[in-house]
C-alpha cells in the first residue's frame, strides 16, 4: 500500500489553508519554524545563521584589508589587528565554511536526492541547529566582550597561558559548532545507508551524495579530537593543568598535532561538499553523463581517508622530526592525487558537452580554475624545502584562500543559484547573477593573486605593518577585496528580491536529472514526494548530444 494515503499533517494543513501545499506554506508561526523537524526548514534556519556569520566575518576581512592598504600600522594597534584576523578566521572557518554546504544544501537535498521523506533523525537535526547557534552566540559574545587574538588556530602556549583575550569563550564556540557538525555527519551517514529509495543502489547515487558521505565520515572521526583538545586548552587556562605549558613540563607542540589532526581533514570538510555540487552542476549544464563516475565517488572516500595522514605538513618548521616531515611530505603529495582525478574527470565531462553558461555553471567553471591553482600551490607547500621558505607568509594565505574562497565558496554559490528555484519556488534574475559571478571572479583573483607574489617575496602573515616595497601588491589586494565585497552583496539583494518578485519556478527549470528535480515540486511538499519514488536508471542520464 502506498504511503501517500497517510497524509503528512503539515501537508494537510497547507491544503486546508487553500494553497498548493509545500513545505514553506505548511505553517507560518514562529513555532512552526523554531520547532520544525523538516530537514528543508532546518536547512533554511542554517542558511540564515551562517549568512549572518558570513557578513560578520566579512566585516573583519574588510578591516584587515583597510589596515594593510598602507605599510605603516596606522589604523589599528597591533593588538587590535591580531584580534581582527583571529575573529575573521574563527568566524569564517568554524561558523561559516564548515557548516555551509553540508548544513544548508546537504540538509535540504540529501533526503530529496535519495528519495526519502526526511533525514534519519529529524529531531537530532533540529538539535544540531540549536547547538550550532548556541556556539555561534558564544563566539559573538567573545567578540563583543573584547575579542580573541590567538589566530584561528589557537596555538599553545600563547592561547593556553599568555593570551589575555576571551579564548575560552571563542574556543567553546568552536566546540559547540563542532558538536553540531558531528550530529549532522552522523545523521547523513545513517540516512545514506538506510533511507535510500527502492532501486537507488550505491552506484546510482548522485555524486553530491557521495561527497557528503565522505564529508560525514571526516566530521564524525575528526571533530571529536579537536573537541577534546579545546577542552584541554580551556582546562589549561582555568586550572593550569600543565599539559601544554612548557614551564611545567608540558608540550605545546602536542596541541599542534591534535589540532591539525582535525583541522587538515577539516579543510576537506569544507571542500568535499563543494566538489559534490560541482559534479551536479557540470553534468546539468554540459548535458552529459559524468565522466568516470566511480573514480569521482572513490576519490571522495580516498580524500577522507588520506586526509587523516597528512597533518604534519602544517608543522614542518615546528621542530618535529625531519623524518616525520619527509613522510608527511610524501603523503601530502599523494593526497593531491584524488583531487586531481576529480578535476580531470570534470574537465573530461565538459569535453564535447553542449555547454550553457548560466550562473551556476559560471561558478562551477570558476571553481575548476581556482581550485586547480589552490591545489597546485598546495603541492608547492607540501615540498619541504619550499615550505621552509614560504611558511607563515602570504603565500600560504593565498593558497588556502584559493581553495576555501575560490573553491568552497564558489561551489556554495553555484549551489545557491542551482537549487534556489527548488528551495524557494522562485527564479533569480539570471542577468544579474551572471554579472555578479563575474564580479566575484575578478574581485577574487585581484584580491588573492597578489598575495602569492608578495608572500613569495617574503611578506609574513599576521602583521599589521610591512616594508614599503610590498605596498603595491597590498593595494591591489585591497582593491580586489572591495570588488569582491560588492560581488557578494549583489546576490544578497537579488535573492531577497526574487522571493517576492522573481518568476515562479517550475518543478525542473534546468531540465536536470535527479529525484529532487524530476519527482519533487518546487518548492517540495513537506514530506518531499507524493509517493516514494523508484529509481530505475543511473545518475546523470542526460540525453547525449545529437549528431
Amino acid at each position: 500500500m502506498s504511503t501517500a494515503v497517510f497524509k503528512h499533517r503539515a501537508d494537510q494543513q497547507a491544503e486546508d489553508n487553500g494553497h498548493t501545499k509545500n513545505y514553506l506554506n505548511a505553517g507560518f508561526s514562529a513555532k512552526s519554524w523554531l520547532l520544525t523537524v523538516d530537514h528543508k526548514r532546518i536547512a533554511i534556519l542554517y542558511l540564515i545563521s551562517i549568512t549572518t556569520m558570513f557578513l560578520l566575518g566579512g566585516i573583519f576581512a574588510l578591516v584587515i584589508r583597510l589596515e594593510l592598504l598602507t605599510p605603516a600600522g596606522d589604523m589599528l594597534q597591533s593588538e587590535t589587528y591580531n584580534k581582527m584576523f583571529t575573529m575573521h578566521g574563527v568566524v569564517m572557518v568554524f561558523f561559516f565554511l564548515i557548516p555551509a554546504t553540508p548544513a544548508v544544501f546537504g540538509n535540504f537535498l540529501l533526503p530529496l536526492m535519495i528519495g526519502a521523506k526526511d533525514l534519519a533523525f529529524p529531531r537530532l537535526n533540529l538539535l544540531s541547529w540549536y547547538v550550532f547557534t548556541f556556539g555561534a552566540l558564544l563566539g559573538v559574545t567573545a567578540i563583543v566582550f573584547g575579542g580573541v587574538d590567538t589566530g584561528w588556530t589557537f596555538y599553545t602556549p600563547y592561547s593556553s597561558t599568555y593570551a589575555n583575550s576571551n579564548v575560552i569563550l571563542a574556543a567553546l564556540g568552536a566546540f559547540f559548532a563542532g558538536f553540531a557538525s558531528i550530529l549532522t555527519g552522523l545523521n547523513f551517514i545513517v540516512t545514506i545507508h538506510k533511507m535510500r529509495a527502492p532501486g537507488l543502489t550505491w552506484f546510482r547515487m548522485p555524486l553530491f551524495v557521495w561527497a557528503h558521505y565522505a564529508t560525514s565520515i571526516i566530521q564524525v572521526l575528526g571533530t571529536p579530537v579537536v573537541a577534546i583538545t579545546i577542552i584541554l586548552v580551556a582546562l589549561e587556562r582555568l586550572f593550569k593543568i600543565g599539559i601544554f605549558d612548557p614551564a611545567l613540563g608540558g608540550d605545546p607542540i602536542l596541541f599542534q598535532h591534535l589540532f591539525w589532526f582535525y583541522s587538515h581533514p577539516a579543510v576537506y570538510i569544507m571542500i568535499l561538499p563543494a566538489m559534490g555540487v560541482i559534479s551536479e552542476v557540470i553534468c546539468c549544464f554540459a548535458r552529459k553523463k559524468i565522466f568516470g563516475y566511480n573514480f569521482i565517488a572513490f576519490s571522495s572516500l580516498a580524500i577522507a581517508m588520506f586526509g587523516f595522514l597528512v597533518w604534519g605538513h602544517h608543522m614542518y618548521t615546528s621542530g618535529q622530526s625531519v623524518y616525520a616531515s619527509l613522510v608527511f611530505s610524501v603523503l601530502t603529495f599523494l593526497v593531491a592525487i584524488p583531487s586531481a582525478i576529480k578535476t580531470f574527470n570534470w574537465t573530461a565531462t565538459l569535453y564535447k558537452g553542449s555547454i550553457s553558461y548560466d550562473a551556476p555553471m559560471i561558478y562551477a567553471i570558476g571553481f575548476l580554475g581556482l581550485f586547480t591553482i589552490g591545489g597546485l600551490t598546495g603541492v608547492f607547500l607540501a615540498t619541504l624545502a619550499v615550505d621552509v621558505h614560504v611558511h607563515d607568509t602570504y603565500f600560504v594565505v593565498a593558497h588556502f584562500h584559493y581553495i576555501m574562497v575560490g573553491g568552497a565558496i564558489m561551489g556554495y554559490m553555484a549551489a545557491m543559484h542551482f537549487w534556489w528555484p527548488k528551495i524557494t519556488g522562485r527564479l533569480y534574475p539570471e542577468g544579474w547573477a551572471r554579472f555578479s559571478a563575474l564580479v566575484i571572479f575578478i574581485g577574487f583573483n585581484l584580491t588573492f593573486f597578489p598575495q602569492f607574489i608578495v608572500g613569495y617575496l617574503g611578506m609574513p602573515r599576521r602583521y599589521h605593518a610591512y616594508p614599503e616595497e610590498f605596498q603595491i601588491w597590498n593595494v591591489l589586494s585591497t582593491a580586489g577585496a572591495t570588488i569582491l565585497g560588492v560581488g557578494y552583496a549583489i546576490p544578497v539583494v537579488y535573492f531577497i528580491w526574487s522571493l517576492r518578485y522573481g518568476a515562479k519556478a517550475s518543478a525542473n527549470p534546468w531540465k536536470a536529472k535527479g529525484l529532487e528535480w524530476e519527482k519533487a515540486d518546487s518548492p517540495p511538499i513537506a514530506h518531499n514526494f507524493e509517493e516514494t519514488p523508484v529509481v530505475t536508471e543511473e545518475a546523470y542520464a542526460y540525453e547525449p548530444k545529437r549528431g
Binding site: M1, T3, F6, H8, A116, K117, D118, L119, A120, F121, P122, I182, L186, N187, I189, V190, T191, H193, K194, M195, V220, L221, G222, T223, P224, V225, A227, I228, T229, I231, L232, L235, L238, F239, K240, I241, G242, I243, L248, G249, G250, D251, L254, L258, H527, T532
Partner: protein, 214 residues
Amino acid sequence: MSAKNAALQHHFEDLGQQYESSQLGMWAFLVQEILFFGGLFLGYLVYRSSYPEAFKIGSSLLDVKLGGINTAVLIASSLTMALAVYWAQKGDKKKIILFLTLTLILGSTFLGIKVVEYSHKWHHGLVPGEMFAYSGPLADQVRIFYSFYFAMTGMHALHMIIGAGLIVWLMVKAARGRFTAEYSTPVEMFGLYWHFVDIVWIYLFPLLYLIGRS
C-alpha cells in the same frame, strides 16, 4: 499491510528500517566517542612515555581499593543494564523498571565513590591548579599525571552523569508502557552507550591506578 505501530516515525517505511537506523546511528556515535576519549588517551601515552617515573609516583598516590570497588560496581551495573535490555525486548514493564533502577543505583554508587576520592585528593593538595600542594620528587610532572587523572576520570564521570539522566528518562517512558516486544529501541541503544562508558573505565582503571605496582 499491518497496522502502523505507534512507535513508527512518519519518515520510516517500517519498524525494521527504523531500528537499523537507530543502531547504525548509535554505533557511529560510539565511534565518535572513541575518538573523543582517544585524544585524552593519546596525550596520556605521550606524557607517560616522557615521564614514566612521575606517572608511577602519581599512580601510587591513588586509592586502589576505591578504584577497584568502583570497577566491580560498574561491571555489576553493566549486568543489570543488560538485563534491562533483555526484559525490554520481552516487553516486561515491571522488570525493565526494576533493572533500570538497579543500574541507576549502581551508577550513582560509582559517582558517590568518585566524589569521595576527589575530595581526598583535594585535601591532599593533588588537584592541579593554584591549590596544588604536592612537593615530593618530580612535582611538576606528577601534576601532569593528576591533570590527566582528573581530565580523564572527569570526562568519564560526565558521561556517567548524562547516562544517569537518560536512565531516569527511560524509566518514565517504561512506566508509561512505551516499550513492547516490538519496540524497545531506546533501551537497547542506551544499553550500548552504558556498556561503552563502562569499557572506558576498564581502560582507565589500570592506566591510572595500577601502573608501577607489583
